[in-house]
């Protein structure tokens, strides 16, 4: 096995985590990773050797994700607001660690794809602002405002969920 392929194989767990945070459903997320790997292998020459393929692969996957979201909905992020996190989900049950994780995963799915991607790249994947802005193809200022708004939105959704849970308990 050549070095390039070995390096790409080593990135699969990270790519899967990023895809899972974007799409939630495991099979859908792995489909996205598969599309990304297929595209990457077709364009192996685009990867500067000597560098980690991580950023290159994340960039490919992110663009696949965003392009498709835009195609699905020409109106872009505005229409991507299934805001009732936790009730919007008609997905098969996943192996999740408890209510807290499920709630935050639901909330993350409910924020706009652009904000979700920005927040995840920095907060979960640990990329710097400069790296993330470069991969997402936006200016650093745009990245920062997406992160800030993403965090605010996430907080609001989690608060709503907690409030509803409290109301439900009271009603019992």
């Amino acid at each position: 096995m050549d070095e390039k392929k070995a390096a790409i194989l080593g990135e699969i767990p990270r790519l899967r985590r990023y895809a899972r945070s974007l799409l939630r459903d495991r099979d859908s997320a792995d489909d996205l990773v598969q599309d990304c790997l297929e595209r990457a292998l077709m364009r192996l020459d685009n990867w500067q050797t000597g560098e980690s393929p991580r950023r290159w692969l994340f960039t490919i996957m992110h663009h696949l994700f965003i392009d498709q979201m835009r195609k699905v909905n020409r109106r872009g992020e505005a229409a991507m607001l299934p805001l009732e996190a936790g009730e919007a989900v008609a997905q098969p049950a996943e192996q999740l660690d408890g209510i807290a994780s499920r709630e935050i995963i639901d909330a993350l799915q409910a924020i706009s794809p652009d904000r979700r991607a920005a927040l995840v790249m920095v907060a979960i994947e640990g990329f710097s602002y400069a790296e993330a802005a470069n991969m997402l193809g936006v200016p650093a200022g745009t990245l920062m405002s997406r992160i800030a708004r993403g965090r605010e939105e996430l907080r609001g959704l989690l608060d709503d969920t907690a409030r509803r849970r409290a109301i439900r308990i009271v009603e019992k």
Partner: protein, 263 residues
């Protein structure tokens, strides 16, 4: 120590490791002096920990064989599936956004006003088609074998007298139907299949208030919708057939639907 004004923006920068090290002490002092900001910082930190731990397990999962095979060049010839399933997840998000939460959605900054009713109808119909026409065993809630019940049930729920068109002349048999959300109201979806397994669906809602007709495709290579809107109802026929063929089937279906509505 550097003196400057800090703001909420610095909370994000500090959390993300982007605050210059020589500003850290001043920032910490600012936080201590601003309990509200300190609480916000603590909350964002806690949310980040929750996010990280929610997805931490993914790194420990074994890499699926199909992904290894792609990289190692052992992948079998790609299946003749037009698109990967993650597309469906994206389509589902649209369906949920435009359908399930129409009420909430319409309230946000007038976004709904920018969105012509016919586009909305066609997009809902296409999203539903992409999801359910791909389902082998769970495509419909009520099968064609129970056609009378299907028609009565959907008519009652949607609020229109719904007669499932007979499309055998076009080579399509009724598979069955299901009830779906459509904006503030409900829609009926009727699914048909030909002998090669090609599927088309009819999407009917009682919601529309304007007159329009046309064709619509949400993706370059995705299914198309032929739709009509009239006072009191909207109808879309969705499929991946060649455009002319879809138009012929749609016309037949629409004629029969209209006759049914008036019956």
């Amino acid at each position: 120590m550097i003196r400057r004004d800090f703001s909420e923006r610095d909370i994000h920068m500090a959390l993300d490791g982007e605050l210059p090290p020589d500003e850290r002490a001043a920032y910490d002092a600012w936080l201590d002096a601003n309990p509200e900001m300190k609480a916000r910082s603590a909350r964002f930190t806690a949310d980040r920990e929750a996010l990280r731990s929610a997805f931490a397990g993914v790194l420990d999962e074994p890499v699926p064989a199909r992904l290894r095979k792609v990289v190692l060049g052992e992948a079998p010839v790609k299946a003749a599936v037009p698109r990967s399933r993650w597309w469906l997840a994206a389509a589902a998000a649209v369906l949920l956004a435009t359908g399930g939460f129409g009420g909430y959605f319409a309230g946000i900054d007038g976004i709904a006003q920018e969105d012509p009713a016919e586009d909305r109808l066609a997009e809902q119909a296409i999203a539903a088609h992409v999801i359910y026409a791909a389902e082998k065993r769970h495509a419909v809630e009520v099968p064609a074998s129970d056609k009378d019940h299907l028609q009565t049930w959907l008519s009652n729920r949607v609020g229109l007298k719904l007669v499932a068109p007979d499309l055998t002349a076009n080579g399509f048999q009724l598979v069955g139907g299901r009830l779906l959300p459509a904006g503030d109201s409900k829609a009926a979806m009727l699914l048909y299949e030909d002998d090669k397994g090609e599927r088309i669906s009819l999407f009917v809602t009682a919601e529309s208030v304007e007159n329009a007709k046309g064709t619509y495709a949400s993706a370059q290579d995705g299914p198309q919708a032929v739709y009509w809107l009239d006072k009191g109802y909207g109808c879309a026929v969705v499929g991946s057939l060649p455009r002319e063929q879809l138009a012929v089937v749609a016309k037949n279906a629409y004629g029969q639907l209209l006759a049914g509505l008036a019956s």
